[in-house]
């Protein structure tokens, strides 16, 4: 899985592409942990290029959110496709995560 990382002012943006499933969730987890270890405390995960997420991917997001909550940081998501949105809704993740329609809206709210 390809993950494009960038920095927008104080916000660290991660854009995973394609599928986030049990076969590559560990890779995603390592990248999230690496960002946190570098001291990033405002994370935006942009789902615009993500086609699919399984519970293995949800697990990594929950782990990241818990860590950031403990350190006083924030995690924000944006651009969920309708099918990914459904999985988030069923999982109760829409009440845990702040979700914006696209990257511009998310960055404006985080700024």
């Amino acid at each position: 899985m390809d993950i494009v990382e960038s920095k927008e002012n104080a916000v660290f943006v991660m854009e995973p592409k394609g599928r986030l499933d049990s076969a590559n969730a560990r890779n995603f987890e390592e990248r999230v942990l690496a960002a946190l270890e570098k001291g990033e405390n405002a994370l935006l995960i942009d789902f615009d290029k993500l086609d699919y997420i399984s519970s293995a991917g949800l697990r990594v997001l929950l782990m990241g959110a818990k860590r950031l909550q403990q350190s006083g940081g924030t995690i924000v998501l944006c651009a969920l496709s309708p099918s990914i949105h459904e999985v988030f809704e069923i999982s109760g993740f829409l009440t845990i995560f702040t979700v914006h329609s696209d990257r511009a809206a998310a960055l404006a709210a985080m700024g």
Binding site: D21, G92, T95
Partner: protein, 141 residues
């Protein structure tokens, strides 16, 4: 009337789930079954297959897993057949407290819950040393 179905065979390797998903997307797309239903089937299969592959076998050997997708009048039926240890995923999974605040949400435990939420029914039988799980999803996108 012949059933509209396709049989897919894979081995116990989670890396094969992506190509299985591509076959399912193609099956659904070519029959006008919407992406929400295709995704629900893919998430459910992913959870069940990952469980089986990670925890179901007593050896390190190669095992075949069969998947049959069939389009019936008003539903999509998916049958998964494997020779792993007996495991029945049809019972209600532990409740997930969806309103719990972040600090109280356990990490993990969502997989089977998602399968039961996304599918209309989950059935199981053990036949000749094999697990056969049948998932049904009504075709209302």
């Amino acid at each position: 009337m012949d059933e509209d179905c396709v049989e897919i065979s894979m081995t116990n390797d989670v890396q094969e789930i992506a190509s299985l998903a591509a076959r399912i997307d193609e099956f659904c797309e070519s029959r006008g079954i919407g992406p929400m239903i295709a995704n629900a089937v893919n998430v459910s299969l992913d959870e069940l297959l990952t469980n089986t592959i990670d925890y179901g076998y007593d050896d390190e050997g190669l095992h075949q897993i069969g998947i049959v997708l069939s389009r019936q009048a008003d539903k999509l039926v998916v049958e998964i057949d494997d020779d792993s240890r007996a495991f029945d995923p049809s019972g209600s999974p532990p409740e997930v407290d969806l309103d719990a605040p972040l600090e109280d949400r356990p990490i993990g435990g969502l997989g089977l819950f998602l399968v039961h939420e996304l599918m209309d029914s989950v059935d199981y039988r053990r036949t000749d040393g094999r697990n056969v799980v049948t998932l049904k999803k009504h075709l209302i996108d």
